[in-house]
Symmetry: C2
Subunit: 134 residues, 2 copies
DNA sequence: TAATATAGGACTACTGTAGTCGTATTTATG
DNA sequence: CATAAATACGACTACAGTAGTCCTATATTA
């Protein structure tokens, strides 16, 4: 309960790896997967999502691979999660899927109070960048 | 991803309900379940766990039920979650199940940095009491 | 043209969560 | 003392989401 998904963890690990090396260096999904013992196909998909959003840039073909698309201090953990998981970490299902997703939405008494915690959690993930985990 | 379980939500809802009424008042699982449209059997189990830990006190038999076991301002959200879910909300699986639970534990580079966020999340849940959501 | 890399959809296996059911025990009350 | 109303609790089922795999297409270099 409450854990980051493996995909997010894998994303953070490889982004950190890239951030440690000289700017612009290119890494293949294969070598990253080997280095951190991550299932290759799974990591490939994570990188593809990160590429679509511009967090990394991708180069196809022989000698292709991925490089950081932004400076490490500009890559926000919150954005990484949103790119990989579609949305930020949310305490309650209704925050993500709306009123219709919960049968007791209108009589729920904790929805609003929990928003206070939600807001604080948001700001935690918003404040942390890849630079901070290098 | 990252959501509180329904059991925890149900627990929070009924504890808040109890906290709003005069101290010592007794509620049956049935009436609480009806009031908030929560599956009775499920809520019953949640209340049983809360009772075992002393957050509520239970009385068996006819005219039995549950009453708050502590003052609302002494009931910490963090404790409620731990009682219902066995442990507090954790960002990473290895924080809960130890090194052996993750195959890349020794080469993981994000485990320690994430502890910073974990600590902050812990303190959020530690600081909130039932009194605050009444 | 061959080799190497990303792109991406489809699929499977597994795990954890939500919810249900059945039964035992306790206790107030007529 | 019998009955009804309540908690206690283990076993079970159904479902949804996650992790991981597989297959094929496309791009690029040499
Ligand atoms: S409405 Fe209340 S119970 Fe339903 S998902 Fe939102 S917070 Fe949870
Ligand atoms: S070791 Fe790293 S990857 Fe494994 S669970 Fe802990 S944080 Fe996640």
């Amino acid at each position: 309960m409450f854990q980051l998904s493996k995909k997010v963890e894998y994303g953070l690990i490889v982004l950190r790896h890239m951030a440690m090396k000289p700017r612009g260096q290119v890494f293949t999904a294969k070598e990253l997967a080997n280095e951190y013992e991550i299932p290759y196909e799974l990591l490939a998909k994570v990188l593809q999502k990160l590429a679509k959003s511009g967090i990394v840039v991708s180069m196809q073909g022989v000698k292709g691979g991925y490089a950081l698309g932004q400076k490490p201090e500009a890559i926000i953990v919150s954005d990484i999660i949103r790119v990989i998981e579609k949305e930020r970490p949310m305490l309650a299902g209704c925050y993500v899927d709306g009123p219709l997703s919960c049968s007791i939405f209108d009589i729920c008494t904790i929805r609003k109070p929990l928003e206070k915690i939600q807001k604080n959690i948001n700001s935690l993930f918003d404040k942390m960048t890849i630079q901070e985990i290098v």
